[in-house]
Amino acid sequence: MKLRLPLILCFLCGIFMIVQFFVPPFTGVYDKLLNWVMIISIPALVIGLTSLIKLHSNRIIRKTPNMPYSTVAFVAMIVMALSGLIGGTGQGTWFEWMFKNIQVPMQATMFSLLAFYIASAAYRAFRARTLEATLMLVTAVLVMLARVPIGDFLWQHVMPDSVLQWKANLPEDVAGWILNVPSMAARRGIILGISLGAIATSIKIILGIERSYMGAGE
């Protein structure tokens, strides 16, 4: 029964969610179910927080090699929580000051690192070792040149007038074609596969064929 009840619930809820999409009077029930999900997520956050506190406090108490990191995480969590609970979270509060001047810049820093990671990944991906990698390199260079001002500048100043009269915006046209035709075709193929995969997985879960996510063992 421990396994059967969740499977029955999963089947009934899954079938209902498919049916409600096509039956307008059920849209109200659907909205209510979404509210339930939000309500349930609040106790889950408490569980998450408990896990976080337990993990870091254990590391601090046991003085593991990662203790300094845990101490920083623990202190930051307590300071933020206390400043919010005592001073509030509105304009001009300590909480708001720390959010704007510590958390937001740190998030921006992490996101900015992406530029450097892209450079190193692109270097590895575009090394012209095989025919496919060479094709990708040439395509990437064409698209990049067409998308930056220097590409247009070079085209307008290096090409003879006869070529410019024939095609004044050839790099832009080529980049547009690459993105809108072969790249889009491949992307749509992947999206079709993903959609069918999602449908098949949903059917397997609704029918109870796929149940490994329940974690109860075989």
């Binding site: 889950a44 990191y69 999206i191 993903i194 449908i199 974690g215 063992g217």
Partner: protein, 398 residues
């Protein structure tokens, strides 16, 4: 200045003032003095394909629409007095959908009030009654319903065939073949395995697919006594992860080797999560890293750090924009549907393999439809054969 000159100047000024006042009054008197005329021909219809809580209205604007500043929609449950405002629309508007606290099955009457810039009002006749009624099937979605039945039917038929012993050929997926190799490598090196389920919540289908793969990976790691680290960014996912890994240890006959602390919540903030996971990678130096589920901008930040610590990396995501980043940084990448196929491929259970085959047949049907659609649309446009547009209409229906 003599007195006579002063009187003369004053007379001139007053004379000019009178002329200006008189001409302004004349202009004003030339403005229309006819009463404002109301909107007419109000047509009320029950909004189709709704839950019975909406009325659609259309009308002809007032003949004096250029004078009108706005139209006010008035509603009542009787045609007599007591109409109340339920909405406002600007001038030159001819339609409105009333969704303001309507009760299914109740009769309503409407009138439209035109108001000009001076506040003059003109009420239309009373129109109605009209009853909002719920429909039991949204006909806008009939093509989606057909597609769901067809694709769902194919998948269920293939599962049914598998149940009756039919064997299916499934192509080799390199990324999934490498899972055992990655676990074996981590075991030999005595280093942990890092498994990430992405940013999705437990209700996301890609997260569910990731959890299915996790159950297989966790079983192997439990058998080999290899530490499995699972930093989570969603508390719900963390709870399910713990259940899965615990179940895998029980299945492997080693419940005592299960460590709950290896599956922990980090942060639900995207970049805080990346910072924490990158730190774990650099400190713990895992031998194998799995990225399965939904990822956004953090995909490359994670995968490049994993690459720098020399881990064997296997990724699988349904976020098509992140696939190039994973392909560039990981050793193996499950592209799109391969993520969903992983559970069936790794378990080799006939029923799960049957669903995979159903997926393939559905894809074949879609390819056939695209091929036929291209041919039919070409003929329809080239030779003016409009009846050939049906296949395009089928797939572009709302």
């Amino acid at each position: 200045m003599s007195v006579s000159r002063f009187i003369f100047i004053i007379t001139i000024i007053f004379g000019l003032f009178w002329i200006v006042s008189y001409s302004t009054a004349q202009e004003e008197s030339q403005e229309p003095i006819e009463p404002l005329r109301p909107a007419s021909n109000v047509i009320l219809t029950d909004t189709p394909n709704d839950n019975g809580k909406s009325i659609s209205m259309r009308w002809d604007v007032s003949p004096d629409d250029d004078r009108v500043s706005q139209y006010i929609i008035l509603r009542n449950t009787s045609p007599k007095e007591g109409f109340a405002e339920v909405g406002q629309v600007p001038t030159n508007t001819t339609k409105y959908v009333d969704e303001e606290n309507l009760v299914k099955g109740t009769e309503y009457y409407y009138r439209i009030r035109a108001i000009d810039k001076k506040g003059e009002k003109a009420d239309s006749e009373v129109f109605g009654p009209i009853k909002p009624v719920a429909q039991w099937f949204n006909t806008d979605y009939k093509f989606i319903a057909i597609a769901v039945i067809v694709f769902g039917g194919i998948i269920v038929y293939c599962i049914y065939s598998a149940r009756h012993g039919r064997e299916f050929f499934i192509r080799r997926i390199a990324g999934l073949e490498a899972v055992d190799e990655a676990i074996g490598r981590a075991t030999e090196m005595g280093r942990p395995i890092l498994y990430l389920t992405g940013l999705g919540g437990v209700s996301d289908i890609s997260t569910l697919a990731s959890l299915n793969i996790l159950s297989r990976v966790a079983l192997k790691t439990a058998e080999y006594d290899t530490p499995l680290l699972l930093p989570c960014n969603d508390p719900f996912v963390m709870i399910v992860n713990r259940e899965i890994v615990k179940g895998a240890h029980i299945d492997a006959g080693k419940p005592d080797t299960y460590k709950e602390d290896n599956i922990f919540f980090v942060s639900d903030d995207q970049f805080a999560y990346v910072g924490a996971v990158n730190g774990i990678m650099l400190r713990e130096r895992p031998a194998a890293i799995f990225y399965m589920g939904y990822y956004a901008a953090e995909s490359l930040l994670l995968a490049e750090t994993g690459n720098s610590v020399g881990a064997i990396q296997i990724a699988g995501t349904d976020a098509d924009a992140q696939l190039p980043f994973f392909i560039a940084s990981c050793d193996y990448t499950l592209i799109g549907e391969e993520l969903y196929a992983a559970s069936a491929y790794m378990s080799r259970e006939p029923l799960l393999l049957g669903s995979l085959k159903g997926q393939d047949w559905s894809k074949f049907l879609l390819m056939l439809s695209i091929f036929l659609g291209v041919i039919m649309e070409s003929f329809a446009t080239g030779f003016g054969l409009s009846f050939l547009h049906w296949i395009a209409k089928f797939f572009t229906a709302p």
